[in-house]
């Protein structure tokens, strides 16, 4: 049941994995939307008006109502559009999906990003946590046949989907190996299935431009920051 595209807008940045989560969710539900590109390095008055507290993308606008924060938007999308539910219906299964999404975000995403943007001992420390955490996720990936959501892509697949596409770019840019397919066959296989899904594969940023962007961005951040970078 597609909504009129005028009613739904997504404010995003082309390379942000957080923004893509929102787009993947809308696509999976068959919801039409208007996409508005935002230059996060030169924030528009629209962004500052829609999300004055955090001043970040993604922002979803639905019937003039504004929602920010990718995980908050995913829950909102699931509540408004009931088809193809993203979260399981059972409360315990829902809790597990939210638990693993938080785990992957804090222990794999943030650590991989910090490894990319740091050097020396800090990088080693971050890499170690990322890889140990992937070992734990591998255990979960071994339990599934297709997606974490079952036969259909669900909340946890969307939350971790960056692993199949952004992580290899970061590994290349940062000269690091994190998701070794020999060490993590189940996670690698799941990541491949996710990225190849028809609704996902046509909604990914161009790889070459990602390499250029993250190379530049990681160098900028490692020269100015010390300590854990909160994305």
């Amino acid at each position: 049941m597609a909504s009129s595209s005028e009613k739904v807008k997504v404010l995003g940045f082309w390379v942000s994995p957080f923004v893509r989560r929102v787009e993947w969710a809308l696509k999976l539900k068959g919801v039409d939307y208007e996409y508005i590109e935002e230059d996060i390095f030169n924030k528009s008055s629209l962004l500052l008006k829609l999300n004055p507290v955090r001043q970040k993308v993604p922002v979803l606008v639905h019937d003039l109502k504004v929602v920010a924060e990718s995980y908050v938007i995913l829950e909102y999308i699931d509540e408004i559009w009931k088809q193809n539910s993203l979260l399981p219906l059972d409360p315990y299964q829902r809790a597990m999906a939210r638990f693993w999404a938080k785990f992957a975000e804090e222990k794999v995403f943030e650590t991989a990003w910090n490894a990319l943007c740091s050097g020396g001992e800090e990088k080693e420390k971050a890499l170690k946590i990322a890889i140990e955490s992937l070992e734990i996720l591998e255990g979960e990936a071994k339990k599934i046949q297709n997606f974490f959501g079952g036969d259909r892509i669900g909340y946890l697949d969307i939350a971790m989907g960056w692993i199949g596409y952004w992580l290899p770019v970061w590994e290349q840019v940062g000269c690091m190996s994190i998701l070794d397919p020999l060490k993590f066959p189940a996670t690698s296989a799941w990541a491949k299935r996710f990225i190849s899904h028809p609704l996902i594969k046509h909604n990914l940023p161009p790889r070459e431009e990602m390499l250029v962007y993250f190379d530049k961005r990681s160098k900028e951040l490692s020269s100015i920051s010390q300590g854990w970078i909160k994305v």
Partner: protein, 221 residues
């Protein structure tokens, strides 16, 4: 109904208190298991093997960890006395502020405790900036949940408990009555709610605890 509900907590964990408050507000009966984190029980390690932390909620033998995940589970499972609004947009707004508390407020206050010198100054500044935004959000409301405690109040409730303790430990002001009148009033109102008041850890023990934490951290630097 014969449901088995258990809460693994410590006497002072602010995260575990969130779970206690939510269950108490909904009038759910549960057994409490106090953990000594320097000597974790085999049960805790079995129920939360990944983080090995409190709180853990056990419901009909199924364990759930991470306080905010537990709050959502409690809300999904026991639908009376809701902690989130019914309207999806208002729910999203509540979740937004819960996340803000975790991403911005808590780390700034935590770093004010754990750091010194310039880093502590910056953390303190960041904390004050985050309070300004909370103050704005409280305009026209008694509680973040409106007339009654909601999930945002529960998630941020640690402020009402710990800010005055940390102000004493650090000799640093966080929530000045004149700069943050609404937030100050919210802290007093929240702390006075019977379900909250009855579970407050003893203040003097908290002061001792946080002094020890700071000293231990500074000694390792």
């Amino acid at each position: 109904m014969g449901e088995e509900v258990k809460v693994f907590r410590t006497w002072s964990s602010p995260f575990a208190l969130r779970v206690v408050w939510a269950l108490d507000l909904k009038g759910i009966k549960y057994e409490t298991i106090y953990e000594d984190l320097s000597n974790k029980s085999p049960l805790l390690l079995q129920y939360n093997p990944i983080h090995k932390k409190v709180p853990v909620l056990l419901h009909n033998s199924k364990p759930i960890a991470e306080s905010l995940v537990i709050l959502e589970y409690i809300e999904d499972t026991w639908k009376h006395r809701p902690l989130l609004p019914q309207d999806p947009h208002q729910r999203a707004n509540a979740r937004f502020w819960i996340k803000f508390g975790e991403d911005k407020v808590f780390p700034a206050v935590r770093d004010s405790l754990l750091k010194q010198g310039k880093e502590q100054e910056e953390a303190h500044e960041a904390a004050l900036e985050s309070f300004k935004l909370l103050e704005e959000e409280l305009k026209g409301k008694k509680l973040f949940g409106g007339e009654e405690i909601g999930m945002v109040d529960i998630a941020l409730g640690w402020l009402a408990n710990l800010v005055s303790v940390l102000e004493e430990v650090l000799v640093l002001k966080f929530i000045d009555e004149h700069k943050f009148p609404l937030l100050s009033a919210w802290m007093r109102l929240f702390a006075d709610i019977p379900v909250i008041k009855q579970s407050w850890p003893p203040r003097d023990k908290l002061v001792t605890k946080y002094i020890a934490i700071r000293e231990a951290r500074l000694a390792t630097n």
